[in-house]
């Protein structure tokens, strides 16, 4: 049985949905945030935000917008994990904690095996890992590990790009021995048949770093083939971003205040909206693990959709199922780069995010556009 509580006291699901609708309909600028949901859940949430003329944001927007900002302000080469697995002869992993961002990465990319497609099939794969964390240093047998802190990674990538292009670097920072190693690596990159960078913005890389990496990929593609696999953000971020894209034309951090979508990553950042007092009610969706919102203000009406046990002390809480765990869920699959239906692993009758939001929506009267 699904549970709902209001300030810790149990209420019926029906009443909870009505109360949620009342709160959100009464707000001047409600926020639909977290968006930790499967694609149907994210889709329903965006429709609700539109009807309410509020704004929506995802809890992993920072990470997804890192990649998207590079794509939309520079350009991007990407491929699927499958293609990297089957074809990449040089794989460059960038950043710490990739195996945490994507626990299946090592198996999926089969980095210990030779590529199977292309004229170079069967030749051993070269794996380079720039800046893994301590636990990852020995994770791949035969990999070349290049230690680097998160702060150093952008500079290392810059030096690689300079040397791939045959341009000088600062001799005070890069001594002769180091330069020789970099030049060796630059040769490896240039001689790759189908090279592939693998990165996760969530590991702490920012847009400038990813742009440098993609610029290097662009340079390499002048003479050979190179591309990238990016590891998507947590809590269904990639799938929800796709839904936001086809529904509104924009990724999360989009508002409907004027009756049409406006995308502004600064204005519609959830925590800022709440902390500045611009949002006057919030629906927080966190169906995967009940992660709590990051804002500090606690005086606006809050509705939380989260799994059992993740009820906050205050506000309205509606228990929802976990996508792909308690119910079948459509999610962006990191291993394929596409949407897929994940069957439930521990089915329960907890409602899905989409079901709860549809029920809330049914209690929201159509807001007349002005």
């Amino acid at each position: 049985m699904s549970k709902a509580t209001l300030d810790g006291k149990a209420i019926t699901l029906d009443d909870a949905c009505k109360e949620a609708a009342r709160i959100l309909s009464g707000a001047k600028f409600p926020l639909v945030a977290g968006l930790g949901a499967d694609v149907p859940g994210g889709r329903a949430a965006i429709l609700l935000a539109e009807r309410l003329r509020g704004a929506f944001d995802h809890m992993a927007s920072r990470d997804l917008l890192v990649d998207l900002d590079v794509k939309r302000s520079f350009g991007m080469f990407t491929t699927t994990a499958n293609e990297a697995r089957l074809r990449a002869d040089v794989v460059v992993l960038v950043g710490p904690g990739l195996t945490k961002q994507w626990p299946g990465m090592l198996e999926r990319l089969a980095l210990d095996q030779a590529p199977r497609h292309g004229s170079h099939a069967g030749t051993p794969r070269k794996v380079i890992w720039l800046g893994p964390d301590a636990s990852e240093v020995g994770a791949i047998a035969g990999a070349t590990v290049i230690p680097a802190s998160l702060q150093e990674i952008p500079f290392v990538l810059g030096v690689w790009r300079a040397r791939v292009g045959g341009r000088p670097v600062n001799p005070e920072k890069i001594d002769a021995a180091k330069l020789e190693r970099v030049d060796g690596l630059a040769e490896t990159l240039k001689n790759a048949k189908f090279g592939c960078f693998v990165w996760a913005a969530a590991a702490g890389l920012d847009a400038l770093t990813v742009e440098m990496m993609q610029a290097l990929v662009t340079d390499l593609n002048v003479t050979t083939r190179f591309t990238g696999v990016h590891i998507g953000g947590r809590a269904g971020a990639s799938g929800v971003t796709q839904a936001a894209g086809w529904m509104t034309g924009f990724p999360p951090r989009t508002g409907f205040g004027r009756g049409y979508p406006e995308h502004d990553p600064w204005r519609f950042e959830a925590s800022r909206l709440v902390d500045s007092g611009e949002a006057d009610a919030a629906l927080w969706i966190s169906a995967f693990d009940g992660e709590a919102p990051g804002w500090s203000r606690a005086d606006i009406p809050l509705i939380t959709l989260a799994p059992a046990g993740a009820a906050p002390a205050r506000g309205l809480f509606i228990e929802v199922g976990q996508p792909g765990v308690t119910h079948d869920a459509v999610l962006m699959a990191q291993e394929t780069g596409g949407l897929t239906l994940r069957a439930a692993t521990a089915r329960s009758d907890a409602p899905t995010v989409a079901e709860v939001i549809d029920a809330i929506m049914a209690n929201v009267s159509e807001v007349a556009p002005c």
């Binding site: 001047k28 600028f29 003329r53 900002d69 939309r72 302000s73 952008p154 500079f155 290392v156 990538l157 810059g158 030096v159 790009r161 300079a162 292009g165 341009r167 000088p168 670097v169 600062n170 001799p171 005070e172 920072k173 890069i174 400038l208 742009e211 440098m212 610029a215 508002g255 205040g257 004027r258 009756g259 406006e262 995308h263 502004d264 990553p265 600064w266 204005r267 611009e278 807001v367 002005c370």
Partner: protein
Amino acid sequence: MKPFTFTLRQEPPQRVDLSALTPDRLAGKSLAEIEKIEIGATRASTKVGDVFQLAEGDLKNVRYEGGSARFDLVGAKLLPEFSIHVEGDVGLQVGRLAKGGKITISGSAGAYAASGNEGAHIEIKGNVGEMLAAPLAGELAGMSGGRVVVRGKAGARAGDRLRRGILIIEGDAGDDLGSRLIAGTIVALGATSGRVGYLNKRGSLVLAKRPEIGSTYVDCGAHAFTFARLFSRALKADSEAAAAVLSGKLQRYGGDTAVYGKGEILTPV
């Protein structure tokens, strides 16, 4: 003649879009019509008259008595010959895509100040938020002309993708000053931090305090630059201190060699 004046009644309950209140767009409108202009951006209406008391005056010059960090897009698409003064703070994107004219802010400005500025002279006496003069999401170039003078501090990534024009930051600059410069000139008098001039194509960063020089900037020696003398003269009226930095010999670091190696960081010898 006195400027056309908007006097703040009270802090608006939401962010307001003031792009409609530039001199050219107000021309020909009566006070009553102006009071009815919608400036809110949510379903709760906010009109000019709700936020401001109006006093008629010379429409070439608009003055705000009282500002707010919620005043977005002040002076957006401003045209040459016009001016706007705000006695107080402003929010996002002041001077966005301004073609010319003069904007002065006595207080501080929010993020994306002077975004896409094409020719306005913008002076901010206080601090500015991040992404000064930067492009908005998806755009490929930031400010393309004009001059911006910040007396206080600037936030992160000031001058991102600057294409043309001059930024003068008298206070400290946030992280990653001059990221992705296409061209143009930034003069920063205070401290800098982070990856200064990262992915710089052909821009010039003139820094009064020598930063940590990155791995892809290469020392080209100390030189007397004629262009610096030219700039020194031209910037004197806006910033004596900036002019002073430019007047002497400068150490040149060529970079970002990750890109073309055709931009530079210049610092006093």
